[in-house]
Amino acid sequence: MEQAAGALTHPPRAASIGIVACGVCGRVQSADTTACTRCGAPLRRRKRDSIARTSAFLVAALIFYVPANVLPVMYTKVLGPGSESTILEGIVEFWKSGSWDIATLIFVASVGVPVTKFLVIGTLLVAAHRRTAWARAQRARLYRFVEAIGYWSMLDVIVVALVSALLHFRALGTAEPRLGIVFFGLVVVLMMLAAASFDARLIWSADT
């Protein structure tokens, strides 16, 4: 019943009428062509191995997220004993010293955003895998949201890079990046790759 209504109320799907759109330039052409007739990019109905790639990147990102949080991300020494701090320690330290705004910002950028992305992409993956029709419009909105916030996780990496580059006063104060930030950067990159390799069209492909 639903299918009949869809067929009646909605325009036909590209697959059903044998056409495909180029993912690069957007030109619509016959589904049996393998390369775009305008830009020459390979033509695919869906992103290649979208679910597998996204899951692989997601798993890798999850694995790296552990050392990124356990290992210290930065070594700072300002008029006193040098100390290495992990992301969470830094947040706690900022919070304790009264800079709750900075603490919140860092928490959002380094914990909130990645965790949200893990959850969102995980959910999208599971849903796409099951081809469920559940909350499609919301899932599509979630996907757009994840793509939009993705790079804000890079805030941490940029903070560390800037501080290490600027704070070089030898005895008075120095800051050096530590291994944790590399993992954190990798997490961010992998999550962006995961988001990029997820094909939003899979959200809609279940009802065929």
Binding site: G18, D32, R48, V59, G80, P81, S83
Partner: protein, 555 residues
């Protein structure tokens, strides 16, 4: 995948194969991620050294998670946690050492907190003002593992493996010496005091010093160490003396050493050699004293000016010193004799001592000294307080022979050895003076005076008489004497007749005497002329004529 079915049958086959291959490759990404994370875990685990705990009196400057454990300024670990000991007497710092620093978790490792310190030996740990305190470690030689340590409160004076040698000194008193006090050789700083400890029986102090290379070779078996602390102002029987090593030692204390005078034993002393720490340079440079024997002397006179430490002198050689002066009461005589105890160093008698030792090699030093003193006492050896310096009025005890000393019993078994005494030289002089004064006192000046007074009164009377009667008479007598004299003067005046006649009479006498001489001459030469008359030869006549002529000429 259901959508692909309507499209042509040819293309799907290669497409599926490519998908499978690519899908397999993409799973390498999480595998690599897992492997790298795993390797990181393994690396961290492998790098993790032993966890140790160090007890400190306070956690001043220590911060959990920040304070490092360093050896030679290289971080070898980090404090992970600091907690209060259960009995609240100290704090326990839990540190995690690096894998490479495992050798520091052994029995004789030492840990201490490096903080800024300002001491007499300089300023240290300035860097920690900015960087914060850290825990310094010093590894020992032991291989036996240990996990719980007690941290040092003061940095150790020597770090294991430092070039140099350690020596043990035995001291009666350390003065202002402390760990870190400098050791000087000819006023050059060559080492420092490593530890100062009271001996177990409390009888002396064990002072360990460390002499840095290459100066450690200067410590020979004949070296003498002395305490160069502070300013030594001494007033003794030898006068005033002011001793200082350097301004630094005045404040911080210090030890100096030098080879004994005249020693030829230049072999460097092996590490750990034991030496005696003398109180001052003079004692150190003096010939070795050996162990003292104690003498007790009893004086029946005041010993003002005799102080503890006053020398015991035997024929000009200081053989000991006074160690105590006590007042005693003798009920029988009601007097307060003084009991003086002195340490006698028989070894200071030099060769005399060596000879005595040769004679009785088996005896104990005290018995030998007692026997020696007995024989000497029989020959008149007595102790006598003498004035050493008239300037300071200090006394010393002299041992000397007094031939006229009364015989005394010498108790060989008495300990301390009791030595008979005699009164002091100064006191003898005093006694003699007192005797003289006494005699002078006994002269009856009063009666002498009274009699003299009488005599003088009588004399006065006599003189009165003389003045009253004798003198006027004397005046008249003198006047008459003067007139008599003037008469006499007129009589013997130059041109008086009396003088003329006297002159003629005298010349007549002269001539008479001449002729008598001529006669006697003739008679001498020609005694026969008395019988035969004057001989024919003329000379006498001529002479006579000549003499006559002479006389005329004279006149």
């Amino acid at each position: 995948m259901s959508e692909t079915q309507p499209v042509g049958a040819a293309p799907p086959a290669p497409l599926v194969r490519r998908v499978r291959w690519a899908a397999g490759v993409i799973w390498l990404v999480p595998i690599v991620a897992a492997l790298s994370a795993l390797s990181l875990v393994i690396h961290t685990w492998r790098n993790e050294g032993p966890a140790i705990s160090i007890a400190f009196e306070s956690a001043d400057g220590l911060e959990a998670g920040k304070t490092e454990v360093r050896y030679k300024e290289v971080a070898i670990g980090r404090i992970e946690q600091i907690e209060l000991a259960e009995d609240r007497s100290h704090v326990v710092a839990h540190a995690r050492l690096d894998r490479s620093a495992e050798s520091f978790a052994t029995e004789d490792s030492r840990f201490w907190v490096v903080r800024p310190r300002i001491g007499t030996s300089g300023i240290s740990g300035i860097g920690t003002l900015l960087s914060g305190a850290y825990i310094a470690a010093d590894a020992g030689a032991s291989r036996r593992a240990k996990r719980e340590f007690v941290g040092l409160e003061q940095p150790p004076a020597i770090i294991a493996g430092a070039p140099g040698r350690k020596f043990a000194l035995r001291a009666a008193d350390v003065g202002s010496l402390d760990v870190g006090s400098p050791v000087y050789y000819r006023r050059i700083r060559v080492g420092r005091v490593v530890s100062v400890e009271l001996a177990k029986d409390g009888g002396h102090l064990d002072v360990d010093v460390f002499v840095d290379a290459p100066f450690d070779d200067l410590v020979t078996l004949s070296s003498r160490f002395w305490n160069a602390s502070g300013v030594g102002l001494s007033v003794d029987a030898r006068g005033f003396k002011l001793n200082t090593q350097s301004l630094a030692t005045v404040l911080a204390g210090g030890i100096a050493f030098q080879p004994a005078p005249g020693s030829r034993d230049d072999a460097p002393a092996p590490a750990g050699s034991e030496f005696v720490l003398y109180d001052d340079a003079d004692t150190a440079m003096a010939p070795p004293s050996g162990d003292p024997t104690y003498l007790r002397m009893r004086f029946d006179q005041s010993l003002r000016g005799l102080s503890i430490g006053a020398p015991l002198d035997f024929h000009g050689v200081v053989v000991g010193k006074v160690v105590s002066i006590e007042l005693d009461y003798d009920a029988a005589t009601g007097r307060f004799p003084l009991i003086v105890e002195a340490a006698l160093y028989p070894a200071r008698l030099g060769r005399a001592h060596d000879k005595i030792v040769q004679q009785t090699p088996n005896d104990n030093e005290e018995i030998r000294t007692a026997r020696l003193l007995k024989s000497l006492a029989a020959k008149g050896l007595r102790a006598q307080p003498r004035s050493g310096s008239l300037l300071t009025g200090q006394l010393y005890i002299a041992l000397d022979f007094f031939d006229r000393a009364a015989k005394v019993e010498f108790d060989e078994a008495a300990r301390p050895i009791e030595l008979a005494t005699t009164t002091g030289s100064f006191d003898k002089l005093q006694e003699q003076l007192a005797g003289v004064v006494d005699k002078v006192d006994r002269i009856p000046f009063e009666s002498i005076g009274r009699r003299a007074d009488h005599a003088l009164a009588a004399l006065d009377e006599t003189l009165d008489q003389v003045n009253g009667s004798v003198l006027p008479e004397l005046t008249t007598t003198l006047a008459s004497a003067r007139s008599t004299l003037s008469t006499a003067g007129a009589t013997i005046d130059g041109d008086s007749a009396l003088l003329d006649s006297v002159g003629e009479t005298l010349s007549e006498w002269k001539r008479t005497a001449q002729s008598v001489r001529e006669l006697s001459d003739v008679l001498q030469r020609h005694p026969e002329s008395l019988i035969r008359g004057v001989p024919a030869d003329e000379p006498p006549v001529e002479r006579k004529q000549d003499s006559k002529q002479d006389k005329r000429n004279e006149r």
